[in-house]
C-alpha cells in the first residue's frame, strides 16, 4: 500500500490519466450498486427510497414461487453459452482468414461487409426474421416448396429457435468481434513468423502454432466478459425477434423477457430490482468460477 502511494506520487501524471476511467466506474458501476437495496423495499416513487417500507424477500416471491424460473434461467444460460461459443469461434475464423488476405482492398471490403450487420437494430432484424420465416409468404417456406419440401410452421416450432437465434447472433456480432481479434493479431510481433518461415512452417502451421496460442489471452478475456453477462438475456434481440409469441417461450424465454412480461402491467420497481439482483449475484458467481477454472488450467491467463 505504502509502495503504491509512493509510486502514485512519483508517477502522478501517469496515474492521473486513470482518473476519468475511475470516475466513470464509480459513477456508473459502483454507486448504482446501492440501488440493489430497492429489491428489499416496497418502493414508491412518491415516498423515495428511504421513505418506502421494507419488504424482506417478498419481491422475489413472484419469480421463485412458480416453476418457470428454472426454465428461463436455463434458457438464458444455454442461449448465452451458444452465443459466446459460436460467436467467438466464427469471429476467430473470420479474423484468421482476414489476416491471411493480402489484397488490401479485398480485405477492407470483406471486413466492412462482415462488420455491417452489427449496426442493424434488433427491431429491424426482427422484421427480417419475420420476412424469412412467416407462414403466409415467408421466403424460407417458399424456398422449401420450390425444392419440393413441405412448409414448416417456424413460429410454431419452438425447438428450432435456439439455432435460428444463434445464427442471427453470429451474423450480427461475429464480424464485430473479429475486428477486435484482428487488431490483436496485428499487434503480434513479426519475429515469430519470420523465424517460423525460416524453419519452413506453412501458412497453416503458422496460424495453428503461432497466432492461435498468442491470441489466447484476448480470447479468454472476451469469453470472461461474456460469461459475466451470461445471466442477462439479450432483451432487445429476444423481444425483437420472438415478441409476445407464447408458443416459442419454452425455448426462447429468458430472464429479462420473462420479468418484463411479469411486471409491465404492474410497473413495480422493487420487483424488477429483485430480478436484477438475482442476475447480478449469479453473474458474479459465474465469473468467479470461470476464472477459477482458467486459473487451474493456465495460471497466466486468469483475470484475477
Amino acid at each position: 500500500m505504502n509502495n503504491l502511494l509512493k509510486d502514485a506520487i512519483k508517477q502522478r501524471y501517469l496515474y492521473s490519466m486513470a482518473v476519468p476511467g475511475i470516475v466513470f466506474l464509480v459513477v456508473f458501476s459502483y454507486i448504482p450498486l446501492a440501488g440493489h437495496v430497492l429489491a428489499f423495499k416496497n418502493f414508491q416513487i412518491s415516498r423515495g427510497i428511504w421513505g418506502s417500507s421494507w419488504a424482506g424477500w417478498n419481491n422475489f416471491r413472484f419469480f421463485f414461487s412458480g416453476r418457470d424460473w428454472i426454465q428461463v434461467t436455463v434458457n438464458t444460460v444455454i442461449l448465452n453459452a451458444l452465443f459466446i461459443v459460436f460467436e467467438m469461434a466464427f469471429a476467430l475464423l473470420i479474423a484468421l482468414f482476414l489476416n491471411e488476405i493480402r489484397l488490401k482492398w479485398f480485405k477492407r471490403t470483406v471486413q466492412s461487409v462482415v462488420f455491417l450487420p452489427y449496426f442493424i437494430s434488433w427491431v429491424v432484424v426482427g422484421y427480417m426474421a419475420f420476412v424469412l420465416f412467416n407462414n403466409t409468404d415467408g421466403l424460407v417456406n417458399h424456398a422449401l416448396r420450390s425444392v419440393g419440401l413441405r412448409d414448416v410452421d417456424w413460429y410454431q416450432t419452438p425447438w428450432v429457435w435456439p439455432f435460428i437465434l444463434t445464427v442471427t447472433r453470429i451474423w450480427k456480432n461475429a464480424g464485430y468481434l473479429s475486428i477486435i481479434l484482428l487488431a490483436a493479431i496485428a499487434g503480434l510481433s513479426v519475429d515469430y513468423y519470420e523465424s517460423a518461415r525460416l524453419d519452413g512452417a506453412t501458412r497453416f502451421q503458422q496460424m495453428r502454432f503461432i497466432t492461435l496460442p498468442l491470441l489466447k489471452p484476448q480470447l479468454i478475456i472476451l469469453v470472461l466478459l461474456g460469461v459475466g453477462r451470461i445471466f442477462y438475456g439479450d432483451f432487445g434481440m429476444i423481444y425483437g425477434i420472438v415478441g409476445d409469441n407464447g408458443i416459442l417461450f419454452p425455448t426462447t424465454d429468458v430472464i429479462d423477457t420473462y420479468s418484463y412480461r411479469a411486471l409491465r402491467q404492474l410497473g413495480d420497481f422493487s420487483m424488477s430490482s429483485a430480478i436484477v439482483l438475482y442476475q447480478s449475484v449469479m453473474g458474479l458467481a459465474a465469473v468467479i468460477s470461470f476464472n477459477a477454472i482458467v486459473r487451474r488450467i493456465d495460471k497466466d491467463s486468469r483475470l484475477f
Binding site: S46, F62, G267
Partner: protein, 509 residues
Amino acid sequence: MAALKRLFLAGALLGLTSALAACGGNNGEDSSGAGSGSLPPVTLKLVVPGAKSANFDEVMAEVNKRLKADLNTQLDLTFIDFADLNQKTNVMLASGENVDLIFDAPWLHLDSMASQGFYEELTDLLNQYGPNVLKTRPQQMWDANKIDGKIYGVPLGSAYTQARSVFIRKDLREKLGLPPVRTYDDLEKYLYAVRDKELGITPLIAGGDDVTYSWVNWRIRDDTGVNIRPTNAFGASLMLYYKGNDGKVYNLFDTKEPQIWNDILDARKLFTDKVMSQDVLTNKSSQSDMQLQNKVAATPEMAFGIPQAFNDKLKQVVPDGELEAVRLFDLTPGSNLSNYKMDNFICIVKASKHKDRAMMFLDWANKQENYDLLEHGIEGKNWKAVGDRQYDTLGNDGGVVSFQLMLNPALERDWVGTDEETRKYNGFIAKADNFSKDIMTGFTFDPTPVKNEVAQFSTIQAKYYNGLFNGALDPDDYFSKFKAEGEAPLKKIQTELQKQVDAFLAKQK
C-alpha cells in the same frame, strides 16, 4: 427564503420580457383571468401515444403562438408509438423524467401508476384552474372515473362504450356476389368466400399482441345476451370476468363459460381452416396497415364507420377498393352495460414542476377554438366548420392530437361526410341513458395485496391467452396446460378481487 427571493426576482424579470413579447400581437382574449404578463414562461412537456401527422409542424406553430399569447407557455409534444407505449411511459415515469402531462389509461397502467403515486390528485387544480375541463364533461363521467374516490386523470372520451366493428372489403364482397353483412354468420360466409376465391389475400387477422383485439374478446363484447366483461385485473383478459350485474367475479378455469368456450372453439376452427391469418401471433405490422395494404380482407377496428383516410389509402393500393364496417353492436336501449368509464386519460405527473400551468393548459385545450385547432388543424386551411357540431375536411391533413389530450362529448364535432348509419351508432353510444348502469361503476381493483400472483399469472397468461383466443393453439390441449399452471395464482387474485368488490358494493348500499 433565499429561494423565494430568487423566484420573485426571476418572476419580475420574466414578467418584463413577456410583457414586451406580448406587444407583438396579443389578441387580449383571456378568460382565465391570469394575463400572460403575470405568468413566467414555461415549456410544458406532454407525452401521448400516436405519431406526428402530416402537418404537425404547421399546426404546432399555431398552437404555440396562441399558447404564448394566452398563457406564456410553450408545448413540447412527444409522441410514442403504440407498440412501445407501455415500456417507454413506464420507464419515463419510474425514472422521474421531466414530463408534465402524460397519457395513461386503464388498459395501460393507470390504476397501478396512480396507486403508486406517480400522478397528481386533480380536484384542487381542477377547481382552481380547470373550469372548462370540468364543464365539458358530465357529472356521471367524473363520478365514474375516480380511482379510490380521487381524480388522477382527466377522462377523455365522447361515448360510454367503445365504438367497434369489423372492417371488411366492400369491393370484394360485391365481387363475390354476397349481400351486405348483417350478422356474424354473414361475416363468416364472407370470410370463407374470400378464402376460397381470393388467392393472395388473407381473409382475417385479429390482434395477436393485444388482448382487446383477440377474436374471442372482440365477439364477447358485442354479445349482449351474456354481458360478459373483463375485470381489468390484468388488462382486457377474460380469465377473470364479470357477468351481468350480480357482483360476482368469475374464473374461466372454473366455469369454462360456454359462451367464451364456444368462441374459442370457433376461433380455432377459423385458424385451422386458414381463415384466420397463420401469422396472427407474430405479425409485425398493425392490423389496419395490413388491411390498407390489401393483405387481409377483415380486421377488428375501434370505430363504427370507415374513416375517410382509410379508404383513400386503400385506393392507392387497389384503385377500386373500398372498406365497409360490419357492426354487430346491439342498438336496443338498456341492453348494453356501461360503467361510464372512459378508455383514455390525461394525467399530471406528480414530479412535474408546473402542475398549475399544466392544468391551465388543459383548460385552454378544452375551449372550442383551441380544441378545434388541436384536433382538426387550422380553420379555413385544414378544415371548416359546418354548423356548430360538424366539420368538413379541406385536404386530409388534420390536427395533432385528440383522444389523447382533450376529447370530450361537449366539443367534439362529427365529420360532415359520416353516413347516416354510422351517425346512428355514434349517437347511440354518446347518450348515457341508452346504457344500463354497471354495478361495478366506480370500482377499481388495487392489485398490491396480490402483486406477486398478478406478476406470475401475467407470464403464464402470455404463453397461452393470445394463442387460445385467436385460434392459434389447440384449446383441447393447451387450455388444460394453461389451467394446470395458472389455476393457483388466478384463484388467489380472484379471491382478493372478490373481497374488494364485496367491500365496494357494501359501501354503495
